[in-house]
């Protein structure tokens, strides 16, 4: 299981990335996350919406109400131009962290502290 803090920190880039592939709605987003992480990344369903709303307040994503195939009203989210820029920044940051960790965990580095 991934820790709560990391779940929280990664929610933003993950949501932006999912929406960068096209608009989507809450339940579908959750399913996608679940499938991609093969169940390792578990979000409390209720937590998703406040995060989406916050992103919307920051004008990184926008929403519209639309009818689903079944006739129910659904709120669809999509990325705004600012959101795309934010995603670029997020990507850079996460790749940076990734590079550091990859370098640190690489085979030619002494990891174990001297005892």
């Amino acid at each position: 299981m991934i820790s709560k803090e990391l779940v929280g920190a990664s929610a933003r880039p993950i949501l932006l990335s999912i929406l960068s592939r096209g608009e989507s709605y809450g339940y579908a987003i959750l399913k996608q996350v679940h499938d991609l992480s093969e169940g390792d990344l578990e979000w409390k369903d209720g937590m998703l919406y406040p995060v989406l709303h916050r992103l919307q307040d920051e004008q990184l994503i926008a929403s519209t109400w639309r009818k689903s195939e079944a006739g129910r009203r659904r709120k669809y989210y999509r990325l705004t131009p600012q959101g795309e820029q934010a995603l670029v920044r997020e990507k850079k940051n996460w790749l940076c962290v990734n590079a550091i960790l990859a370098a640190l965990w690489g085979p030619d580095l002494e990891l174990t502290p001297a005892i």
Binding site: D45, G46, M47, Y49, R54, D57, A70, R74, K75
Partner: protein
């Protein structure tokens, strides 16, 4: 939808779940829609995989998270959202709700602290009312002459001259100027001239009055200016003998009758400057009374051709007796036009100069100037202190500035009160602030709360101020000599100003307290630590010092102005002014019997002395140039009266050399008395017996010297003056006055005696008299007005400052109740306690004195500049102002202190 299994109703279960969240303010309905959609998607999928509806709902809800968690997350976003105003509708609803709340708490605070509220509001109301009255006054003073349709294009022509060592600017212009401007200066569209007639008697059948407001005007007058006619038309003043009355004048002579075409007699038939003058006029129009805000005032307008003297001088560029106005075209360049006028004068004036025996070229060669300048009529009223106005009033821009500053001062003092009282009460509200902050109030919310309170204060104060101003308007109008009305407040601009003043005062008095109060840190406050309040106390002291500085300066200035006025009143003018009655012999009402009238009066028991003269102090004196024995062709300017044998006696003049006129002595003819200034300026060492030559008339022998006396306003130094015996026939003056010195303690009887004799001598002529002391007093009406207004506003300022001080004192005493109790139980006396409490305030007031004195001193030095005779500025007005302020302050604080000191220490110690 409606997935239903057994007796489980999914829709109803979801509705129930939703209802549980609806009342929670963290969720908007939209959020619930979204969550419900999510829930239904999830349930749909779960039931598709075989779960019952009930189980699916349970599983989906578990995944969604507990209410509390959910709520917390939504709330976090929620707060950010309201700050960012993403949804303005819910946001403004929130603000409205808050304002309501602020108001509710504000009114509660106001009511709970009724004493402080009262002081605060009373101070602000007085301050605002003063401001309001002064603003009305300023508004009326600044809006003179705005009612003329082409007012922005009408200019008055002023005479700008430098000649023979004198220079100046005046509103008198020569008769030919107007036509020359119209014919020769491009850009001048129309011209008109005014010629004030002076006092004449107007008669209709058996009704007669002396009229001072008759102005002769060119026929273009009614077209250039906007003085609407109620009868007749704009051509009413073309023909000789036409007269237009104001509505008031028409009522005075004709009652409700139609005056049009009616005859009216103005003055007496006669010969003026060699031309016949006919007193027969016909009413050709009725005009509305000129508005109060007009620098041109008149009761009657006559046509210019009715008065031969103006036509007589149509060649003269040196007879400066008419006022000239010009309307210029919208594109006109006035500066360029003035240059053209200079050229015009250079072409036209020299002939006129030659004709009266002077040389225009010499005038120019000697560096002199004989020019005419355009003055926009909007500037005439306030911009003519040195220029004068022959047909109406002039105002004093300096006094307006003084009043404006004083109004702001009073308002400032009131605002300071509000500030002081609010911060002073901070200790009592500190707990409130602490609790509010601990409960999550933001600083901005607290500031809004305090600002709402101060604006509410100023709202109540504004309402009171308007009521107060309304009550005081009558007396104020009397003092200020105006007829102001509050109706301007009902106009949109008036309303905006009032609203602006209200908000301005509210903000001014509320900003500092709100910043100060909202800055308390809750932990310290609730522990009771923030209250030492040194910062606040120092600030309050500064404000009190400012208040008292202003108050003391105002009191001192009032006393100084009064000092100068008293100085005028008590000054030895060099002549007797008490009990001197001046009876008008205007237009020679007494005919040839003036001397007989005087002789008869002299025989009356109540009359000490009586005299006929061509002028009396404060009024007309005849000025011309004279040559002096032994000084060659040099000419000296001298003013003079033609007087009879009794003048010196009647006015109690002191003859210090030679002798006065001897009764019925033939030697009086061609003799004169000089004043000391004349003797000095003429360079006469032994004046008696010397000859003074009036060129073109003849020689006069100096038979004596009188001590200098003030024959004009005390604004001006005494100039060379001569008393010429009337039998000398030195010049002709159409008017004279009979001065009668009567018993001061029996004035009414004396008046009756003089009146009885008048009616015997001139039964069909008006009997009009004044008293010399009143005439002198009237010269300083404006200064008196300044004094009264100063007095009123100084009193208001000190009143408001004391209200503030009372509040502060009450507060300090309240805060130190416990201390007082302890001191008292340890044996302190009442007196020592009062002293202890007064000490602080005394220090402030003394400091204010140090600041106020130089301010008042500098102001009064500047003000006195204008007077030729001025009082010595002594220390006592400053001392009195300072001591008065100190006394009032000590009294105010002392009463509070005494109350506290006398209280039972047990009660005090129980007090919390």
């Amino acid at each position: 939808m409606g997935t239903s299994m057994g007796n489980f109703d999914l829709d109803r279960a979801i509705k129930a779940w939703r209802k549980g969240l609806t009342r929670n303010r963290a969720f908007f309905p939209e959020d619930l829609d979204e969550l419900e959609g999510h829930l239904r998607d999830h349930i749909e999928e779960l039931t598709a995989s075989g779960l019952t509806g009930e189980d699916a709902l349970q599983a989906a809800l578990r995944r969604l998270g507990q209410h509390r968690l959910l709520e917390g997350e939504f709330r976090k976003v929620r707060r950010g959202r309201s700050k960012r105003a993403a949804s303005w509708r819910s946001d403004s609803a929130w603000t409205v709700a808050l304002i309501g709340n602020y108001l509710r708490i504000a009114t509660r605070t106001l009511r709970r602290h009724a004493f402080f509220t009262g002081l605060n509001v009373a101070g602000l109301a007085v301050g605002l009312a003063s401001c309001l009255l002064i603003l009305l006054y300023l508004q009326s003073e600044f809006s003179y002459d705005r009612f003329h349709e082409d007012g922005d294009r009408i200019h008055r022509l002023n005479w700008d001259f430098a000649w023979d060592g004198r220079e100046g600017i005046g509103s008198g212009t020569p008769p030919p100027l107007a036509a020359a401007l119209r014919d020769e200066i491009a850009g001048v569209e129309a011209v008109t001239r005014l010629y004030p007639i002076g006092d004449v008697i107007v008669r209709r059948a058996d009704r007669f009055f002396t009229e001072g407001g008759i102005v002769a005007v060119d026929s273009s007058f009614l077209r250039m200016f906007t003085f609407p006619l109620v009868r007749g038309n704009a051509d009413a003043l073309g023909a000789p003998g036409s007269i237009v009355l104001t509505e008031t004048a028409a009522r005075k002579y004709f009652g409700e009758d139609n005056p049009m075409g009616q005859p009216l007699s103005v003055g007496e038939d006669g010969v003026v400057f060699g031309r016949p003058y006919s007193s027969n006029f016909t009413v050709t129009g009725v005009a509305q009374d000129p508005p109060e805000g007009s620098h041109i005032q008149f009761d009657m307008l006559t046509s210019m051709p009715s008065h031969p003297q103006v036509e007589q001088f149509d060649w003269s560029w040196v007879w400066m007796q008419v006022t000239t106005y010009a309307r210029v075209s919208p594109q006109a360049n006035v500066v360029a036009m003035e240059e053209q006028v200079t050229d015009l004068v250079a072409r036209r004036a020299p002939a006129a100069f030659t004709r009266v025996g002077f040389s225009f070229d010499e005038l120019l060669a000697a560096g002199g100037r004989w020019d005419f300048r355009f003055q926009p009529i909007h500037d005439v009223y306030l911009g003519s202190a040195d220029i004068g106005n022959r047909v109406g009033p002039t105002g004093s821009i300096r006094n307006l500035k003084i009043f404006g500053v004083v109004a702001l001062f009073v308002l400032l003092i009131a605002c300071i009160n509000a500030m002081n009282l609010s911060t002073a009460r901070s200790s009592r509200r500190a707990n409130e602030v602490g609790v509010r902050k601990a409960l999550g109030s933001a600083r901005s919310g607290l500031m809004a709360q305090f600002l709402t309170e101060s604006i509410l204060f100023s709202l109540i104060a504004t309402v009171l101020a308007v009521a107060l101003a309304w009550t005081l308007l009558g007396p104020f109008n009397q003092v200020a000599g105006k007829s102001l009305s509050l109706s301007i407040l009902a106009t949109p601009s008036g309303g905006v100003i009032l609203l602006g003043a209200m908000l301005g005062v509210g903000l001014l008095s509320g900003v500092y307290p709100s910043l100060y109060l909202s800055s308390f840190r809750p932990v310290e406050v609730l522990k009771g630590r923030a209250l030492s309040g040194h910062r606040g106390r120092r600030f309050r002291s500064v404000l009190v010092v400012v208040q008292f500085t202003i108050s003391i300066a105002l009191i001192a200035c009032t006393l100084l102005v009064r000092g100068q006025m008293d100085f005028f009143r008590d000054m030895d003018l060099g002549f007797e002014r008490q009990g001197v009655m001046v009876v008008s012999n205007h237009d020679h009402r007494l005919g040839n019997s003036a001397e007989a009238f005087v002789d008869v009066l002299m025989e009356q028991g109540l009359v000490e002395s009586a005299s006929v003269s061509s002028g009396v102090p404060t009024t007309f004196s005849f000025e011309d140039y004279y040559k002096v024995d032994g000084r060659g062709d040099e000419q000296f300017e001298m003013a003079s009266y033609l007087v009879d044998d009794h003048f010196v006696d009647t006015y109690g003049l002191e003859v210090i050399d030679g002798q006065a006129f001897q009764p019925t002595s033939p030697a009086n003819r061609r003799s004169m008395l000089l004043n000391q200034v004349a003797v000095n300026q003429f360079g006469l060492t032994d004046p008696v017996g010397k000859r003074i030559t009036y060129p073109g008339v003849g020689d006069f022998t100096v038979i004596g010297v009188v001590r200098d006396f003030n024959f004009r306003s005390l604004d001006q130094p005494i100039r060379p003056f001569g008393l010429i015996h009337e039998s000398s026939e030195a010049y002709q003056i159409p008017n004279s006055s009979v001065s009668v010195r009567v018993a001061v303690d029996r004035l009414q009887e004396s008046i009756a005696v003089v009146r009885a004799e008048w009616e015997r001598f001139a039964p069909d002529q008006p009997f009009e008299y004044t008293f010399m002391d009143q005439n002198l007093e009237a010269q300083y009406a404006e200064e008196r007005r300044l004094e009264s207004l100063f007095l009123i506003f100084a009193a208001l300022a000190i009143l408001v400052a004391c209200l503030g001080l009372l509040g502060l004192a009450a507060f300090v005493v309240e805060r130190r109740t416990k201390e007082i109790g302890i001191r008292k139980s340890l044996g302190a006396t009442d007196t020592s306690l009062v002293q202890l409490l007064i000490r602080d305030f005394t220090k402030w007031v003394l400091l204010a004195n140090l600041l106020a004195w130089p301010i008042a001193w500098m102001w009064v030095q500047d003000w006195l500049e204008d007077f030729a005779f001025r009082t010595e500025v002594s220390l006592w007005p400053f001392l009195v102002a300072g001591l008065a302020a100190l006394a009032i302050a000590v009294l105010t604080v002392g009463l509070q202190a005494a109350r506290a000191a006398r209280a039972d220490p047990v009660t005090a110690l129980r007090y919390d």
